[in-house]
């Protein structure tokens, strides 16, 4: 099979276009910061950004001016407080106004699920009595043909491109994760193009010896890129811990638009790639975030020849 391995610079240049609907998923875990920084560096504009938790990753992209519309369900700095760039855009239109479309987690996850599943909608039992449907005309209702019960309904969401970070992948693009998987799989299948960034590229035999861990097969992947520490300040289970100190620090950095821009200049525009970003972060921090190993018990798949 032809290798799909390329640089992240090339992958973003080829597959992410101005005006695209883009999903960078990873629920708390494996948030694809390296991919987001490359999109910022390449100056993409007018993106519709989809993510359950915008987190620092979209706060940075909003401040950088990539975002025209945000589709989300919880926009906070987890364990810390507000996302200040998000708030500035919504409350004051800085750096530019953005359109928001919001859901509950369950409802947005069901939009992705429907998009991945070739369904035009998904029914769900939520949102009833909430004011969310009143401010989001994309939420409707449907009647069960068996019980006559009215349920809420959300439309399928399809994206142009999904960018996902994983622990390991092979050069065919077969990508594997463990720990929290969030809505990564639904995001991959709800998108026309998929870019994978991986902590490690491993031989296909490693991936194929444990096919239950595969998030998405290479045939559904457009490009696979190495990005060691590609989720920092988020984490990669078994590789490194979440950088809680950075999440705290972001509260200060992001309170002022100019200070945030200066941070982007230094940490995004000022570095060519993730390796350079990590050198800037420094070896000491890398060591602090390393996790003590704890291996899963081996499992035998057997050889049937």
């Amino acid at each position: 099979m032809t290798s799909k391995l390329c640089s992240l610079t090339e992958a973003v240049a080829t597959h992410v276009r101005d005006g695209d609907t883009v999903i960078l998923e990873g629920f708390t875990h494996l948030i694809p910061f390296a991919a987001a920084h490359e999109i910022i560096r390449q100056g993409r504009r007018d993106l519709t950004l989809v993510r359950l938790t915008p987190d620092l990753i979209y706060d940075q992209m909003i401040a950088a001016g990539c975002c025209r519309k945000l589709v989300f369900s919880w926009a906070g700095n987890p364990g810390v407080g507000s996302l200040h760039a998000f708030r500035r855009a919504v409350e004051q239109g800085i750096p530019s106004p953005i359109v928001i479309e919001e859901y509950s987690h369950f409802a947005l996850a069901m939009r992705l699920f429907a998009g991945a599943s070739g369904l035009p909608f998904m029914p769900l039992r939520s949102l009833r009595g909430s004011d969310l449907p009143g401010v989001n005309p994309s939420i409707s209702t449907v009647t069960c043909p068996f019980t006559g019960e009215a349920l809420d309904a959300v439309p399928a969401l399809r994206a142009d491109v999904a960018l996902l970070h994983v622990q390991r992948a092979d050069t065919d693009g077969n990508a594997q994760v463990w720990g929290l998987t969030g809505a990564q799989k639904e995001s991959a299948f709800a998108a026309d193009r998929v870019i994978i960034t991986a902590e490690e590229i491993v031989p296909s035999s490693v991936v194929r010896a444990d096919p239950n861990r595969t998030l998405v097969p290479g045939s559904k992947v457009s490009a696979v890129c190495v990005a060691r520490h590609g989720a920092h300040p988020s984490y990669a289970q078994g590789y490194y811990d979440r950088d809680a100190a950075f999440y705290d620090a972001w509260d200060e950095i992001s309170r002022d638009h100019d200070r945030l821009r200066a941070w982007l200049d230094a940490w995004v525009h000022g570095v060519p790639d993730r390796d350079a970003y990590m050198r800037l972060l420094g070896e000491e921090r890398v060591q602090q975030l390393a996790a003590e190993p704890a291996f899963a018990a081996p499992v035998n798949y057997g050889r049937y020849a």
Binding site: F27, T28, H29, L52, S73, W74, A75, G76, P78, G79, V80, L83, R87, V90, E91, E102, Y103, S104, H105, F106, A109, M110, F113, R125, S126, L127, R128, G129, S130, D131, L132, P133, G134, V135, P137, S138, I139, S140, T141, V142, T143, F146, T147, G148, E149, A150, W178, G179, L180, T181, G182, A183, Q184, K185, E186, Q237, R242, A244, A245, D248
Partner: protein, 303 residues
Amino acid sequence: MTPCSRDELMIVTAARALADRQRVFVGIGLPNVACNLARRLHAPDLELVYESGVVGARPERLPASIGDPTLVSGAASVCSLPEVFLYYLQGGLIDVGFLGAAQIDRYGNLNTTVIGPYDAPKVRLPGSGGACDIALLARQTIVIARQTPRLLVERVEFVTSPGHDRRPGKLRSGSLGSGSLGSDLDPCGGRPGSDLDPCVERFPASSSMQGSRSDPGTAQRSRSDPYGAGPQLLITDLAVYGFEGAPAELTVRSLHPGVTREEVAARIPWAIRLQDDLPVTPGPSDRDLAVLRQVRGAVVGSG
């Protein structure tokens, strides 16, 4: 007794509201602290379920967020986010949903979305996350929040997670483009369930967690209530509140040690009737506090 802060009292009281062997859906922030404390105090088999997909977490440190890697290592199961919402929450397996709130009103409606008009917000809050889903789908809901002067209002400006008065969502009936069924908010009594098939949608009458017990005396929500059960308890750093009447509204159940009736009344912006003989919330034991401090000491951030 070890002296303690009102914050500590709040968290210990919240932890005590959880019985062992319940399955609890744990919200971000204070609920995360309270649930982890309960597991280390009186409820070792409390099953912690996180919207991040972790089921039966046994974190070695206090998780800094609901997606902390310490939740994964040693958990009974990790599943996808759609699965945890579909199979656990909407599937009816959650005994208790444990939520935080920025604003809560007389009828238990929660607002975590916006202060001021939605389209021109004064303060934009994070939004629902799983809160609306939990409020509607858990068998019972407990809310924990610091009682700032802004916490309690007579009517929330935005209903993120519905409470007891079941008002239809604002704007909904006149909303744009939500289709011909958009204004059909009430469950249409409609046709009775199909009698063609004995196995069509026969939901379990109670949690299928083996041997689980629920707080005696608290209303169990039934599957037929699309608006959810509304919160049963609100625990703040001043008092414990319940909800009574029809529609159920906020009542004070107990005052924390050292908190006066006047202090509480001053933080409630409507004319609330306080019982004459309000009990005092039992304070934490030395062990409660020791464990809480050990748990909280290990973490950066507010939990």
